[in-house]
Symmetry: none
Subunit: 300 residues, 2 copies
DNA sequence: ACTTTCAATAAGAAAAACGTATTAATTCTG
DNA sequence: CAGAATTAATACGTTTTTCTTATTGAAAGT
């Protein structure tokens, strides 16, 4: 079982065509067939259905694909780290973020400070979905993740978490909405509206906040549309698809046709949390974590 | 850069002694020296200090060691996942259910047993309408569906079906009804009542059972209200909207103001059936189907 | 000074990976 | 329906990589 076989497999899984995959890999097709077969024998599992002149991933192949990709990425990261460390730069810190962090004024500022104090260390930001981030921190593709609470229930137990900041939630309305020019509104006034919500996993993130707050205000929100990106969400609200609830900091994103309104009847708050491995052995990562913890507005 | 080199490096880093590491790896010492050197050249970084007849990790070596170990572990995990998935011991099974299955005492019990025997497999239940379920099994969003017979007439022909259990039907009456405190009644006694019925598609499910039985008893039921959820149906009966016919197991749902009464003049039975793809390629799904079939109370 | 220890080097043997040619099976096409 | 085309698998010889044995060289111990 070798990395090369992993790469061959991933390419073949992407192409679903042995000859094309072989070409992309710069080898002949029979060599690829042989390596895939060797891998399958080693695993004791077929990875592809080769029926009817069509190549498809088996269920095992699908499951293996995700892990194989992660393994290849991690190997590349190992290489990069060795190289960077040898050059005297302590390397690079990979940070996962949810989209809405970009509009938080404090966090980018904090990163900038750290960058100035540690010019050798490259900070690399990766915008990803919540669950993907947690998984990636767990298997070391990321060094930390900034996500919005609540956290999903099934967190790996070698991960730790602390709160970075707390933010009020505000309502987002299209400016054509009758309530749009009030100075503040009650959440229950939106009971009959349709909502645009984040596509978060159940029980986690802003998607969960929206549900909880609406239920707290005594109604079940009718969710007409789910989106992955904060920008899309605000645009959809502006286009009249519905209303939504977002963290206050998002209101820095002023789009035409969109109004942000504080809420009267709720303490609705969401928190940004930092997820990291409990026993972090990289000095650079540990230092950044300490830095973030020290400047966080919330006692931990 | 290969996984083998990673393993060689990790062992050498553990032993800090080429000859001993080579012995542990089952190769000769020069082979190890060569591979480590090849790795160092590839990385463009020395991983060991070899001064003074003593082998030590460089800083880069130390950083690389962490990532190399993680990479090896992840590769092993990939292998395990592929193997387990192929053997049907990992993955996820999506099961569609009609609402009333929840009150069946046997089926949840069966699922629980399966969950204990196959801890790697996540069972995910989806409460859906009959037609939606069939469609979803067909296009692989669900792996199987538990629905109430009769089946609709236009089943896709790549789907199979077998009976899980058979249940008597009982009448549901509001406890204010004159007949509510009999020990049993005749269905034809309800000929003049209004009925609350399931919103099933024509010819399928409990909605069809109700029609057939009433016609068998010599009258056409007057259906005043149709509902999607079993809980709503029972509530409506309790609130005096009408009477209905439900599977016996539903009587576990005891709501105030509702009485369940056995029927004298009919053998009214409904069946729970399992719908699945005829040629199931997932080992896990096939195993669960076998399990259900084996424990079903009805010969198939 | 001599031996011992230990990694590096050299060179040939073994194993793995690859390429060319071919086969077998299916699908497309006239 | 026959023949062409597509595509993955197989056979087998070649190249490349990896390994082994033998040897060297340098440092440490006696």
């Amino acid at each position: 079982m070798s990395l090369r076989q992993f790469r061959y497999f991933v390419t073949t899984a992407e192409e679903l065509h042995f000859a094309r995959a072989a070409e992309r890999l710069g080898i002949a097709q029979p060599a690829l067939s042989q390596q895939i077969r060797a891998l399958e024998e080693r695993l004791g599992a077929r990875l592809f259905h080769r029926a009817n002149r069509r190549v498809e991933l088996t269920e095992a192949g699908n499951a293996f694909l995700r892990e194989a990709r992660a393994t290849i990425d991690l190997a590349a990261k190992a290489e990069r780290i060795a190289r960077d460390t040898a050059r005297g730069e302590a390397g690079r810190i990979d940070i996962g973020i949810v989209g809405s962090v970009v509009f938080d004024p404090d966090f980018p500022h904090l990163l900038n400070e750290y960058r100035n104090e540690h010019p050798g260390i490259q900070l690399s930001l990766h915008e990803m979905r919540i669950l993907t981030q947690i998984e990636a921190v767990h298997n070391r593709q990321l060094d930390m993740a900034i996500i919005r609470t609540p956290l999903p229930s099934d967190m790996p137990d070698n991960l730790d978490c602390f709160t970075l900041s707390t933010q009020k939630s505000v309502a987002v309305l299209p400016s054509t909405h009758p309530l749009a020019h009030e100075t503040s509104i009650h959440l229950r006034d939106l009971a009959e509206e349709t909502f645009v919500a984040f596509e978060d996993p159940p029980g986690a993130g802003m998607g969960e906040i929206l549900l909880r707050e609406c239920r707290g205000a005594g109604f079940e929100p009718l969710i007409a549309q789910r989106v992955c990106e904060i920008g899309t969400l605000i645009s959809l609200v502006g286009a009249g698809f519905g209303v939504s609830l977002v963290a206050e900091t998002i209101s820095h994103l002023q789009l035409p046709g969109v109004c942000y309104l504080p809420l009267e009847d709720t303490e609705a708050r969401s928190q940004l949390a930092v997820i990291h491995r409990r026993f972090e052995r990289s000095a650079a990562v540990a230092a950044l974590l300490e830095r973030i913890r020290a400047s966080s507005k919330v006692p931990n």
